[in-house]
Symmetry: C2
Subunit: 386 residues, 2 copies
């Protein structure tokens, strides 16, 4: 209830992050960033606030705050509108990917012909390489998500639908400290607490850019569980919220009652093989597109290309960066230009949809280290018995 | 799993909505709208999809779709990018409030100097006046939210924290059919499944544009429950997700163990008085600003101005439209230009934060009818015993 300072990060950690941002500003020729996006404000300060953050190429950071009212410090000025913010650079970074057109037009009118640089690209690159502190936050989410996933078989009761099981998983996650919300940049994805897919519902196409689909229970949110009852012979894919620390892990495991048909078992093994292969390939300097192509190649050689990343509808990627948001850089996709760097944190999700059975495969979150990727999602990967 | 048509709405209902959109287009001189926002696509078609919707001033609707792949019909064309969309009007409506700056710049480059109209304003006005079908969807959410709220005392166990109770309420809501997600336009608000505030945590300022605050359990999401244990003398304010149908009700009730201090009881009664007064004032033609001013006047005359809509930090409104999103028109605020119309659905939330006790008051969702507002949130309004 006391007054509060802007930076909730330790000064060393903040300085480390700001150095990375400044390096990316220099690469794009930005003199100053005007940051409005919550995820980017949280990245730089460890705090979400209403207002704007100015980052100069000298690494100075100043907050122009609307709310909360109890922030104090030399680096805090209260303002009502963006026009009250002094701009000094000749080349101003604006977050073109998240700033609304209205706000862009309003701020652009303040710039008096100054050059605009895309601060979204600057911040996306800076955030893609996690600091050791961030990696520890993500690892902590991985440990806590694992504890909940191991408890899932104990939540199952005969006769449950996908939604019944999902509700109990949601509760277990929340009791385990899950924050619930996970941040997604843009509206290409909308989801509540994760995706539980049973049987052929996994083959229902979704409008969203997720690896898997599902019809959902209402047309206002057409993704995920649709009330399918869990039965022997149907796979139960669980891809549930791993945000325990403000930083997420993304982990999927496949469950079943008894044994699944051979082709599903084989596809599941192929998913684990792809993960292992990509984890070995994923050294600093590796091309993200090469990792995607290798995954597609393994799936194809196993005769599973028709089921890889979906069946009626196929997702165009096999992995994605994860951190504060679920859709960070790098992206493992055929036309990705991303090059892996030490400190990237990447979810790899080679999944298959087998008609008549459902979705199988795993998803793991990895950190890129000197000699490949280290897995941060610790639940056993085999098809788990409910 | 079959092919699917674009419109999930009954043709009469779709026609009714499109007529409203066209009327607002005419008011702003738009020949054509290019709709990208999920809430607006859902409004017009009853469906969310990835892609764009063209609405002409003649009321023709055509979808340019990326996903899902199984949409079919004369009104559906699959495209990969906005440049593939033919534009016919001279004055094109773009959703400036939700379109990203990047997308705006890209689409503006396609317009060859055509005039741009703000489609966000057009759609906001059209959506503010609900159809009878929409009002029935909202009423249904109200009935189902009421059932869960009435069960809350049965969820309480001695020693529970705010978060413990919230998790059980979340589960009860989900078992009652709550979709979980609720749509918010913009990132001025982030929240997971609602806000449970116990005792002085209600006085912790939040960065978000909610009526009430709370510190939250992690700085990445600084709002709501913070682990405060529920005890006699502390109020327990429950403002939980009412999205059961794709359309929401917004309802808050205050709970307690035993009797709260007199000033809190008095403030709670004042909140109900304000709701009743505003419901009577809220006829078609009433000024939204007048409703706000009347609420503030009643609070002030009761000597409660310091606690009205917060204590350390005050919210600048007393009500807001609700429907597909939690922050629709009209807004009940001092400088609002909105005029109430028949069919508006408005949440009114005159809340008070009493130091040492916590948040008290109610929130109800109303529909504006010929002779005032009718309440759609049915749980008894008195301070309820846990």
């Amino acid at each position: 209830m006391n007054d509060d300072k802007l930076f909730l990060l330790h000064s060393d950690e903040a300085a480390r992050r700001i150095r990375k941002v400044v390096a990316e500003m220099e690469a794009d020729g930005a003199d100053e960033l005007l940051i409005a996006d919550n995820a980017n404000k949280y990245y730089i300060t460890g705090r979400v606030f209403a207002g704007w953050l100015i980052v100069s190429s000298a690494g100075d950071v100043h907050a122009y705050v609307r709310r909360p009212v109890h922030l104090r410090g030399d680096d805090v000025t209260f303002v009502r509108k963006p026009e009250d913010i002094p701009l000094h650079g000749n080349s101003i970074g604006l977050e073109l990917a998240t700033l609304s057109a209205s706000d862009y037009l309003r701020i652009n009118a303040m710039l008096d012909g100054r050059n605009v640089v895309n601060a979204s690209a600057v911040m996306r690159r800076a955030r893609a390489v996690k600091t050791p502190f961030e990696i520890e936050k993500i690892s902590e989410s991985g440990r806590r998500q694992d504890e909940v996933y191991r408890a899932i078989p104990g939540l199952y009761r005969p006769g449950m639908s996908d939604l019944d099981l999902q509700i109990e998983i949601e509760r277990a996650l929340r009791l385990g400290g899950c924050l619930g919300q996970f941040r997604i940049s843009g509206d290409s994805m909308e989801l509540f607490m994760g995706n539980i897919l049973v049987g052929d519902n996994a083959d229902n196409p979704t409008p969203y850019d997720f690896a898997m689909g599902g019809a959902g229970i209402d047309p206002s949110l057409p993704v995920g569980a649709n009330g399918t009852v869990i039965e022997p012979g149907k796979s139960v894919m669980v891809d549930a919220n791993g945000n325990f620390t403000g930083y997420m892990t993304d982990m999927t495991r496949t469950f079943a009652l008894g044994t699944l048909p051979d082709e599903a078992v084989r596809a599941h093994a192929c998913s684990i093989e792809i993960c292992d292969r990509l984890a070995r390939m994923g050294e600093p300097g590796a091309k993200a597109s090469d990792l995607y192509n290798e995954a597609a190649r393994i799936a194809s050689e196993a005769g599973l290309a028709d089921y890889f990343m979906g069946h009626r509808q196929h997702a165009g990627f096999v992995g994605h960066g994860v951190g504060i948001e679920i859709n960070e850089a790098p992206v493992l996709a055929p036309r990705s230009k991303d090059i892996l760097q030490k400190g990237n944190v990447i979810a790899i999700e080679p999944k298959f949809v087998i008609p008549g059975v459902g979705a199988v495969g795993v998803e793991n979150t990895y950190v890129v280290e000197d000699d490949g990727m280290r897995c941060l999602t610790l639940t056993p990967q085999e098809i788990l018995q409910l």
